[in-house]
Point group: D2
Chain length 361, copies 4
């Protein structure tokens, strides 16, 4: 039952990395919204492996097909089914995974839970599953843009120990897409790319932080006390593969301030109540306050590396896992559209909930 996200705007993803296909069913998208397959494809292309010299060299076409829910270019209000066929599933690459548990992958824990796994790749734990998320997120983003002019921009904030300076209030999608690191701090982007290439050469991998901002968010989104906006954003972010941390607004850094430093003073601007600082990250008491929502997601270094590693086989016998094939030294640039998509799914869901409960908008 864990494969559905959202209440009114719902995404149900399906598919193993080495099955026939992966995809998503989006239920609850409002009717009469223009939607083309291109809206989805352009986001899938940002997520796709092999798109640059610093991502994995495995080529995946990832062509989306819309199989239901759209008629004459518009949403019907019925479930939108989007499928992507797996074209490049070469099972011979994965034979060794049948019997060996890869460190910090999900092989062992899936076996512990289900007593079975599709050992030809990561199965549901593979990043291929996120295709469905990005497809659903593309729909959510279109809804939020057309309904509120809301825009979501994510970018690589940190790779390994290299941290970028970015202003979340002004950064543009063009800034982000201007380099293959998806880091709008151009100098730092150069250093990140260099460091990632070095990691590839070492057969090692790097983690990092994606920061993501939502602008033009209407006040009132979020449903206390358990479905606070930051709570659902945290769940969304931590549900992504390899994610180990979440922050909103001041995050962990805010704990070193005092209350008088951290509190965001209110003021009035053109009839709208605003805050002078935004340590709250656009959310107070679980509800958006109209300021930009700023979140950060921490990704551990990718588990797949090319170095030999100590591990055990499925019977518990010690063995060495040798690196083979291709690896992705840093997934951060490709993680950007996934974080954006998850943020969009949360905001779209809460927009519908808020409209339902209060009649606002």
């Amino acid at each position: 039952m864990g494969n559905t996200f959202g209440h009114l705007f719902r995404a149900t993803t399906w598919g193993e990395s080495h099955g026939d296909a992966v995809g998503v069913v989006v239920d609850g998208c409002p009717p009469k919204m223009p939607l083309q397959v291109e809206d989805i494809q352009k986001e899938l292309d940002r997520r796709r492996p092999g798109q640059s010299e610093i991502s994995t060299q495995r080529k995946e076409g990832d062509q989306a097909e819309i199989l239901s829910g759209v008629f004459e270019g518009k949403t019907l209000g019925t479930p939108i089914m989007i499928g992507v066929w797996n074209r490049d599933a070469r099972s011979r690459d994965y034979e060794h995974m049948r019997t060996t548990y890869r460190p910090s992958h999900a092989d062992y824990s899936y076996d512990a839970k289900y007593g079975i796994r599709n050992w030809m790749g990561g199965g549901r734990a593979s990043a291929r599953e996120t295709i469905g998320r990005v497809a659903a997120g593309a729909i959510a983003r279109k809804f939020l843009a057309s309904e509120f002019g809301l825009e979501i921009v994510g970018y690589v904030k940190q790779v390994w120990q290299l941290t970028a300076e970015v202003d979340p209030d002004t950064v543009t999608m063009e800034d982000v897409e201007s380099n293959i690191a998806r880091c709008p701090d151009q100098d730092m982007a150069v250093r990140m790319i260099e460091r990632i290439k070095e990691a590839r050469k070492d057969g090692d991998s790097l983690g990092g932080v994606v920061e993501c901002v939502a602008r033009n968010v209407p006040p009132g989104l979020g449903d206390p006390v358990f479905d606070k906006l930051e709570a659902d954003l945290a769940k969304a972010v931590l549900s992504m593969p390899a994610c180990k941390g979440f922050e909103v607004g001041s995050g962990f850094g805010g704990v070193t301030m005092t209350g008088s430093q951290h509190n965001d003073p209110f003021y009035s601007e053109g009839g709208r109540i605003r805050t002078r600082t935004n340590n709250s990250g656009g959310i107070q008491g679980g509800i958006s306050n109209g300021e930009n929502i700023i979140i950060r997601a921490a990704f551990k270094p990718t588990a797949t590396i090319m170095k030999p590693q100590e591990t055990v086989d499925v019977d518990g016998n010690p063995t060495i896992l040798e690196g083979r094939g291709r690896h992705d030294p840093c997934v951060l640039p490709r993680a950007v559209p996934i974080v954006e998509s998850m943020m969009a799914l949360v905001l779209a869901d809460h927009a519908l909930r808020q409209r339902g409960q209060t009649g606002n908008f």
Copy 2:
């Protein structure tokens, strides 16, 4: 609809800080489990204001009553209703809140969402709401302890810029409760207490980090892909008042490592597959792997301070909010049982889900 947490083990909290009562309905607790009101009261006493010289001096008795779901000392499998009457609601303290938005409180965002709020206190945004969480968490903890021998221990890891050294694998509840800071690093506890007293004198407030460990967790808990164990833990943590960040295992610190440093090698110990390090924090691919689960929650400094602050009234006119009454300079010690409770609710829910779907346990 946002006031229910969990799927099979469900807590629905209710009550405003200055209404008649607060409480919780726990639905889905397995039947025939021994349960006394004392099991709940002892955790409420750890959460209660006024329990030490460094917490707020507002006294709240917080006596729990079990109104349903328990018969002759055992759970019936039916909803367990627990109520706590509000005895100390003095509305005169709050008259100024009728017209003024307190900075970094939820006054403005509640008005933006609902168009109405109980201005006599924080209403649902008040920390009093967490009474229901702690009561529900006490039941979840008892279930987990009796079913799996699972134990949950939380403690103050950081206050302001003061960070403790604690070994999550060995720390005991006794260590935690041995000082009023709930910090098992006794030297650091002394410094924390001193710093909190200083903040009180300044009329200012401090934030911090609570770390929480679950031990004896059976492998297999967690429901990919959206209800991964870390995703539900993140939601649980970020649903608490004043929480701005979540980490599991290596968290944000892990991003500065390389994959070869971060991966947790598998080995076999007494027929059980284990990991030599625990950067994964006991969860891999969204599923518990049997190692200790370690999470951290970042709390901003409390919004209520005694210093004058710039703000606006409900009509948007600028005004100064003067500090008055009592304030809680640091909620971290009292946040410990709340974090533990939220962790317990997540684990109990996933234990039931796992038992349901796979028949394990």
Copy 3:
């Protein structure tokens, strides 16, 4: 987890018949709606035992208290908690139930499921649980009335083999309340009352049918394909104690017609599309079409009778259950407000869902 009904407008009932109290938490009621305890009490009084000479003579005061969610006479948008204390729980009446399974009661099946039950009365299977439903339904009705002018009128359509003639399009609440049978066909009401008195004298019990109509229903309510309006109404109705059947529109009778007899021709009236007949019962394809919604609920004769019955004790030994105490020969008049309440809960939930998904209303 089965104690919550609804998605956006949610009722969670709690309480055993012989515990301390019963009640309900209503989550998702829109904010700023005027609400007084009298709105709830007047419906509870219609449900209350002992209100007439043909219902049980057991007196229950059933005074409602609103413990949260309402402030200065208006809803806050936060959970509304309503409790009713159990005043008349006399455990001595029930000692024989400790060891004997009463035929067609839930004693055995509760034991089979939970391995434990509150044998001092029906526990959760008791009709007392419906107090929470009626309290929640009163709130839902008030919302529907103020938002759409929607009105819900239920009445006793059949008792035993006595069937009334009632026009659902014109019947009024006053017609219903004009006699203690709650049957607006006054002649038939007299015969029903007579028959019920006879059953009481016999120590026997009678079943019947409640019909319920909703008028001024906006078109568009219902969420295909699984949450069709009639599907959620059916669930609502069958979740009531002693209910064995549900019909909408033509129901079981419609199966004896042909399509050309049964189809409801469309026509236009004052710019509104209507149907000349209403075999559909106001719902087509799972969605309200603006015509009156008409449902029927079949209730079996009450299981508690005063005649000796064959049964077994908890160990499976044959025994005779003697009638003792008081019994309710026919619950139909008291079931009317419960059916109305369940219908109101379904319609309120779907109104919020529809508003959320499509922005209509």
Copy 4:
């Protein structure tokens, strides 16, 4: 959000009748269960149009493909995606539906709700949507059979005014499948077939009743108070196209009995507690008691007929709808596997819930 059914065993159907495909995602099926596409195909073949001379002559191949969730012939515990391509979608048949509302179809109410509809056929309101239900139901049945030896047998109990005599305790699938009416009362089957042929000749249609029995049901299934087993069965049944009524056990007929006639006496048989009669229909207090569960679903006569009908166009202007193309004079035989499937989905879901909450089985 209305396209998902179930909590732990969940089916999400998708697809319009004249889109590219229809299908279902089944989430929560226990892992390691053998599953072949043939298990699904054989049930789809029973639902398929054109299978006999009394159903519609429109041929639909309806070949199922399993796209995820199964590996080496066994379920993975991950979402099982099943798709069926629409091969016979001829839009020229449906041009008149663009502008005309067909009586007692969902054309108008869909427009009222969504403001848009796929007018090339019934869209989501088409019976083609039930392909996903039958596919999901086939999986649920296999789980129930392998786990409990539980079997589900449905059959046509009534067509128009022709009612069959069938013993639900002994009827077999072979009895049902022995004639094209799917009515195990062979004499009545002949008359039903004759009557259906007559209706076809008349261009008219017939309704009827499907009865369905589940045998070898473990006691303890069902989750009071709202998710009572009969409540979820009622919802399941009423969510089917054209369904207008539901009964369990004695149903509407039971209301004409007295309590002393209706109560099911308990007795003990081989250490198992049983009831001598089964007016309860295998469910007491919302929980299965181990007796056979017997339900009935009333289907109105199919809305599509070949006779001219009064109606309006989308602008409200009066018009006559002429019959054209092919029609299905009686869907009852094809409805049998759908009712069975919905019953299976409910029972599988509650089996997992019961196992989760109580650890039974």
